[in-house]
Amino acid sequence: MADTGAPLIEVKNLGVRLNTSRGPAQAVRGVSFALRRGETLGLVGESGCGKSVTALALIGLLPDSAVISGSIRLEGAELVGLPDAAYCKLRGNRISMIFQEPMTALNPMHTIGHQVAEPLRRHTGVSATEARQEAIALLDRVGLPDAAKRVDAYPHQFSGGQRQRITIAMALACQPDVLIADEPTTALDVTIQGQILDLIADLVAERGMSMILISHDLGVIAENVERMMVMYGGTVVESGTTDAVFTRMGHPYTQGLFRARPRLGARKGTRLTTIAGTVPELADLPAGCTFADRCAIVEGRCRAALPAVVDVGAAHGVRCIRTDVSMAVGGVGA
């Protein structure tokens, strides 16, 4: 578990403003967290809640037009405003990312060996032969069958699960400190999802990496990370250890998300529970709590200003002014 040393990555009051076709949108605001070496953090929320934008901000790959405020520090060094050339030295080297779509994340024109070796050649200055050997070793480690034989094959010759293994090998090539996995299994068959998540978990433990796992799937989050943040409308509405969040669920949105998950064994014909209403447009977020329009226990003052984070337990924060109701025994969360 976490040691008490200085955080590896520390995000304070991160804000991201994007230029969308509907005008400027505050895609992320007030996101803060710290991650020590070896810790794992999950980001959960619906599409458009700002979780992927947060990840791209960390790795410095937001579009040029995005305006980033706040602070992201990697071992104390500020990353916000870092010139691209300097950021390039970190990406793929100290911070790596695995993306959602393995079918399109690889360049169809290059062999997989070349693509896995690329970060090594870029960051470590090893020779082409050494990089190739290392690429084979990495592909072997991520469980690609016949890695030595298939190193010169092209992406289209592999299945989705195999391609995701290849992108994992690529992300791990330079032994990064931080691994960001953005919906790494969403595009995969259910039978493959578990294997890939186990592989990621093994590698994170084996190499002592910190991991930020992004998912809309509460099950994936529950099983794979120590701490989690629930995002909605660009803000973190609840954060804490995974156990605490799942057992106590302070925010009405977290509770809704939990109730909305499909369950095996439900009687046939039972309708899936949903959260009423739709996700607010980031281009025109309400002034107060972003969840106000969909919340069952909303009251007038919820709409006045963005609620502050309320501590409801050890390192368990909820951005809601009505936790007295939402967390009451037999309350809406039950």
Partner: protein
């Protein structure tokens, strides 16, 4: 790879065969007797009949067709009805101009278009992009003969650097030949480069939106490295398709520019032969054009397979 080649070559041969049939039948169906045309309306029927026999026009259709095919196989295309000299020689004289002109023009096109297309895509929506794209818009709108006249006014009349027309041939050295083809090559290249630049730009922009570009960036590659190592090769397929069409067009469709510059190219030969009813020349020239277009397409197809590893497997 060998299966791929075999299939492509079989397609090529089949296409040429079909083209030869169509060309032969269409020209044969034209009204008017070539012998009568050559000798004029006043010629005696006996003389016309004698010439008909001499030209082999009295033979059945299939025999004449097979004789033509056989002649092409051994390089004997027959003699021009009008000049009496071998058709092969007439065509060869024109090809020493047309092929170098097409290559020069294509080179200029590619250099201009790729640099403009890549530059504008890399600077998408910035001032340079807007500026260069406006220029290409003008380039597309320009009639190439008018632009050719402007070039003559500037380089030949005003600066007296290059001759206003004619072809120096290759006997006085390569440079003399190139010099005399420079202005026509540029005139032909400008419009084509404008079109190809726009194709290149949109192809590059499309690839820049691909997920693997973000993956490459996430590995720590800079924008420029991503562009050169990951984007361009992916963007080349649509660019090469248009390049192939343009090159074929340069071989066949340059008659306007040939006339502006008094160049004895293939286009003028075809035009004159049609006017003279020299059908044996027309037939062989059109067949040659068909063969060149089919060959260019074949080369483009093979290049696709070299560039994109997915095509070999698909056995396209």
């Amino acid at each position: 790879m060998s299966v791929f080649f075999l299939r492509r070559i079989l397609t090529l041969v089949a296409t040429l065969f079909a083209a030869s049939l169509i060309i032969f039948l269409v020209l044969d169906a034209l009204p008017g007797n070539a012998a009568q045309m050559l000798m004029g309306a006043d010629a005696s029927p006996d003389a016309v009949r004698a010439l008909t026999v001499k030209l082999g026009l009295d033979q059945p259709l299939t025999v004449r067709y097979l004789l033509w095919i056989k002649g092409m196989a051994v390089g004997d295309l027959g003699n021009s009805y009008v000049y009496g000299t071998p058709v092969a020689g007439l065509i060869a004289e024109r090809l020493v101009l047309t092929i170098p002109l097409a290559i020069m023009s294509m080179l200029i096109t590619v250099v201009l278009a790729l640099s403009a297309g890549i530059y504008t895509a890399a600077n998408h929506n910035k001032l340079g992009d807007v500026g260069v794209m406006s220029l290409t818009q003008i380039g597309i709108a320009l009639p190439n003969f008018w632009f050719a006249i402007l070039l003559i006014l500037l380089f030949s009349v005003k600066l007296q650097l290059l001759s206003a027309g004619g072809f120096a041939g290759w006997d006085d050295g390569v440079w003399a030949g190139i010099r005399s083809l420079l202005l026509p090559a540029i005139s032909l290249a400008v419009v084509q480069a404008a079109i190809l630049a726009r194709v290149t730009r949109s192809a590059v922009l499309e690839v820049l939106r691909e997920d693997f570009v973000r993956t490459a960036r996430a590995k720590g590659l800079g924008k420029r490295e991503v562009l050169w190592h990951h984007v361009l090769r992916n963007a080349m397929i649509p660019v090469m398709t248009v390049m192939g069409l343009q090159f074929a067009n340069l071989l066949a469709g340059t008659i306007v520019i040939e006339n502006v510059f008094y160049l004895p190219g293939l286009g003028r030969l075809i035009f004159q032969s049609i006017a003279n009813r020299d059908l044996i020349v027309v037939r062989n020239c059109v067949m040659l054009l068909a063969a060149m277009v089919v060959t260019v397409n074949f080369v483009v197809d093979v290049l696709y397979a070299f560039i994109d590893p997915r095509i070999k497997v698909a056995n396209l």
